[in-house]
Symmetry: D2
Subunit: 356 residues, 4 copies
């Protein structure tokens, strides 16, 4: 397993969804940061299920308890360990599934890799629940970055075939990010949002699931962040994003679309304006040669539809080695994209903090 | 700068395109590997420019000299350092450009980051030439993997708007990869290849450039490779791919397209066949929960059009801080996708070697 | 702070003596290891104070609770997090000391480094208590090594000016290590042990403290462990040993004494005996060129006398910047050497596990 | 092999004594450092053999060629690679030794570890020559530290049983370090120096060797450097020191002697003097709780006598597995301590640079 990540600030994540606790140690935070626990808990809530009709009815407490590194309201500079003690886990839901490989999940690969000793309950360490400590760490990182004027935000770009408007990579304002954050269903165009919700509900009725694309942004990044060759801004952030379960694609700026146009059109021409260097377009998503250029960093993340569905599927029985069938009864999300927004933002925050 | 990468096998890359030499140290290779220098030089040739009408007329020698870690035909187990001594560099080409920021390049971001001390000639450390040592390291990695039956291959999926056929993620054979490797223009459908070449030549005539998508594949990977959470197979490989200059997107399996279908369609259903576990489809690109499942690993990389074009563009003069114009005279590639194939494959080889 | 260490198995330590909990995450353990919790708790007891007349009367529970990575009696392969929740901490003892720098401690350096935000209570993160999770990790490592036939043991070589016999670096047997482990005061020569105890009691009466040297050993190490240049067996183990508070010297084999003899005497001459390669002497402590040679690894660790003493000392008041006096009232150890034995052994176990 | 080390500045060392070249890549240097090549070559000369009657008659050129990261007299911020191309290597000297394990060397352990593929010539990667690139890196580090007022120096504390005076840990001045650096035989007490030279010459006549202790010092270190728990100043520096071939012990401050005195005597009492915090004594060698306290850092390194001696010794033939004899003819040092001074200083410089 590799629960460790980071260079300047180092993280160590642990926990299985049905173990005693799930958490993360953050090592390298500067001392004297005043943690806003309300903000942190708010971020945890964005991720937690059971809040609305679009996600699972499981209630996950998700209250973080800090075991160390925090004293009298401030970080001490020592490693900060935050733990979420697991409650509300129906292990019974998973007993029947013990030997059946849930398609799309890591059941089979995990069993092979861990010789059968992995905790299969609820996906064990592979569970989406592992993203909870990530959101905690991201919340801490966001506060530190916010104090430096750096703001991170995101919206749902698409659910299935329905697409929202894209972020304006040249003129994106903090206010836009703030506005979309306030919404229950964070999209720019609420009409599109309504269509998306219908798609999700329909999938839910049909005991199926849908996926979508999240578009993220980082504003006010100073120019010069990123360490070519191997630790470019894209490399660093993509590594984190692809750690999140269900992510199958990452792109920056125009992304895959940039391959279809000419160089003369793709290049972002720089110009000087009021002593600042800006670019007329932002097809490169704010990053040149792996280094930030001061323009908004724009990126997109493809999240596949939730693998766990009640609809019956073919599979294999890992104990007997024979073909079988499975119906994953339980309280599952028809779509995790909404809940993944703070997770994606957390990745961005952790990545930038590693460079600042 | 971060020229270091890797856990089991550690790489340290160095060099600027107009310095004395460019190279890489590979630390952690097992002793007793017989290096096939012909194969290695062949891979370097795939990358080198000046071979055909589609790439630049610059001739780069690209002969690798091994300074250490290699004795009597075998690796010794000590760090292996390969160096390419730079010849054929026209520094004059770059003197006029010294203060003008080439749009799309790291000139401006590099100048800010390195306080003006970076080697601006030919892009210095940001030059695409830094991929030469990467291909060397990839060639060494490929040999080791090949001895274990693991084969890596790729093709040009698209140039501009023209698309080749996709790899068959379920039935892809080594023979297919071998066949496409033999071609001067590695595509599956030669008619499409012809269209692509026309696009490139047209761009060249118009002193412009085009980009494209590379599709890569890894066959015969054992089941169980990858270390969730933070070092999943996708994370590890994406980090390397995004280090390559000009890469703006990475996806696995169906990639961004997987976000448009239902979970019941997206899931790869496993079944047992002659004691092996296969999946009926391969929308996940051979990776579940960050771990390989034995099916072909399929991924795609978006490469933006070459930024350096002779066509006049607006820019800024970094010395005076004023707007200006630039025409990047010199011997540039209208399209680097063809030359990037061994670079992309090298990333895949280095990534897998870090897990085996 | 750097609470992270390790390459194959990665550790992340956290906790301050007066925070909610102190613990460690172990990432990279193979799945399927059956943890012997009795053995683990036994090791924790060796370290815990309050057991006898030689150490402090503080009672520290030191019961480890495992939050993750452990299921149905076996490691799962996922990160294993063990936490000791703090009880029995008299914060009042430390209030008066808040601004007075305890000589020999990290109070002043810590205050400077952490801008005053460090948790000063009981030494905060600098407390010797941080060695408790280390002993836990060491206990887990020892089990894994023991299953491979590798045994780690130690004894008190000296307290003040009184010296025990040295380990026989050529003929040291597992039985010797087992015998000494069983003793309340682990020395080879019990008469010397009696003298040592008197020294400790005398220091206690005089509200002072004493230090000593621990001699450690690793038996049955296979030949070939260690990674020159930078990760030699000595480098790796010394890095861990010097992390332990109060350690001021580390030596291998004859150590500093080897500098006084001729090369012809220092060299360990190899010979073949029953198909095994042994050496006639073992002045190098089982390590040549940074790599184990199969002979017992012998090393020594110098531990300075406990800094916290009730005897009045001069110091500075960190709030006013003026000279002052301090008398560190509280329940302190007159000598920590006895309690440090499992900590030193833990370092050895963690180090070897990183190579196996 | 582990040729990589460092966090802020990362090093990657390569080379065998009889390969084409030996070198090091330094990754993370700030841009704009003006390298003083005369100073660097001077440091290389301190290490090189053949200069005087006390060391071997082998002449090693040791001229460093910089391949990258250096342009127009300044570091560019890109990885800096320095290579020493090997000349003057008598491979013939080593052919006869191919299968005979030289006692005290890594011949046997290396053969086992590298399955016989290691470069046996002159010790291959285990050769003391690997310290040449280390001195180069140390020279670069020293310049950067010197610009910040930090000075590193050392002297020979002992050869065999003859001891020089010790550094005054409280009052040590830069002038003292400068004075001792200027000497051909760097000791504080020249009479003792004379005795030491006699010891070395006698050993040489008797085709034997001697070892000694080096005492090093770091002046003007700011308070607060070091990262407890695992990356304390002692841990970091000791890890580097123990990487150097022939090092068998490392101690700080009073070192092993501190174990013999009472806590009331060992503690360094702080006091305020002209707004600076000093300590009356410096038994802890300038480090408390793993963090620098501003007082001189004092440490000692035990170097064993050179293993390679012409005097006949028993050994084993690694090809036949039988006992045999060996006489290591060749040009060997009767004592490497003098040449090791810049190597030890290099370790100190690299270590401090990793914290600043």
């Amino acid at each position: 397993m590799s629960g460790q990540w980071g260079k300047k600030v180092k993280y160590s994540i642990f926990g299985e969804s049905h173990g005693r606790g799930i958490g993360i140690t953050i090592d390298g935070l500067p001392p004297g940061i005043k943690l806003d626990m309300d903000f942190i808990n708010g971020e945890m809530q964005r991720r937690a299920p059971g809040r609305d009709e679009f996600s699972t009815k499981r209630k996950e407490g998700d209250k973080v308890e800090i075991l160390s590194g925090y004293f009298n309201g401030y970080t001490t500079g020592a490693p900060l360990c935050g733990v979420i003690f697991n409650e509300n886990q129906n292990s019974k839901d998973y007993d029947k599934l013990k030997n059946l490989a849930r398609p799309g999940h890591a059941d089979f690969t995990g069993k092979v890799k861990y010789s059968g000793f992995n905790d299969y309950r609820g996906g064990g360490h592979f569970s989406g629940r592992i993203t909870a400590p990530l959101v905690f760490a991201g919340a801490v990182a966001k506060q530190i970055l916010f104090d430096k004027g750096i703001v991170i935000g995101s919206h749902i770009l698409s659910i299935g075939n329905v697409f929202d408007s894209y972020f304006d990579g040249v003129n994106l304002k903090i206010q836009t990010l703030a506005d979309v954050l306030r919404k229950d269903f964070p999209v720019l165009d609420d009409l599109k949002g309504k269509e998306m919700k219908n798609i999700i509900l329909k999938a839910k009725e049909e005991t199926d699931s849908v996926g979508g694309i999240i578009e993220g942004s980082i504003l006010n990044l100073p120019c010069g962040l990123g360490e070519p060759f191997f630790d470019s801004l894209e490399s660093n952030l993509a590594q984190l994003l692809f750690s999140v379960p269900a992510v199958k694609g990452v792109e920056f700026g125009m992304g895959f679309e940039i391959t279809k146009i000419r160089g003369s059109k793709a290049n972002d021409v720089p110009f000087v304006y009021e002593e600042k260097v800006l670019t007329k377009t932002n097809n490169n998503g704010g990053i040149n040669g792996g280094i930030s250029n001061g323009m908004p960093v724009i990126f997109r993340v493809a999240m596949k539809p939730t693998p766990s569905i009640a609809k019956t599927q073919n599979t294999i029985d890992m104990a007997t080695g024979e073909n079988s069938e499975i119906s994953v009864i339980g309280r599952h999300d028809p779509c995790i994209v909404l809940r993944a927004l703070p997770v994606i933002e957390a990745c961005a925050a952790m990545s930038i903090l590693d460079f600042i």
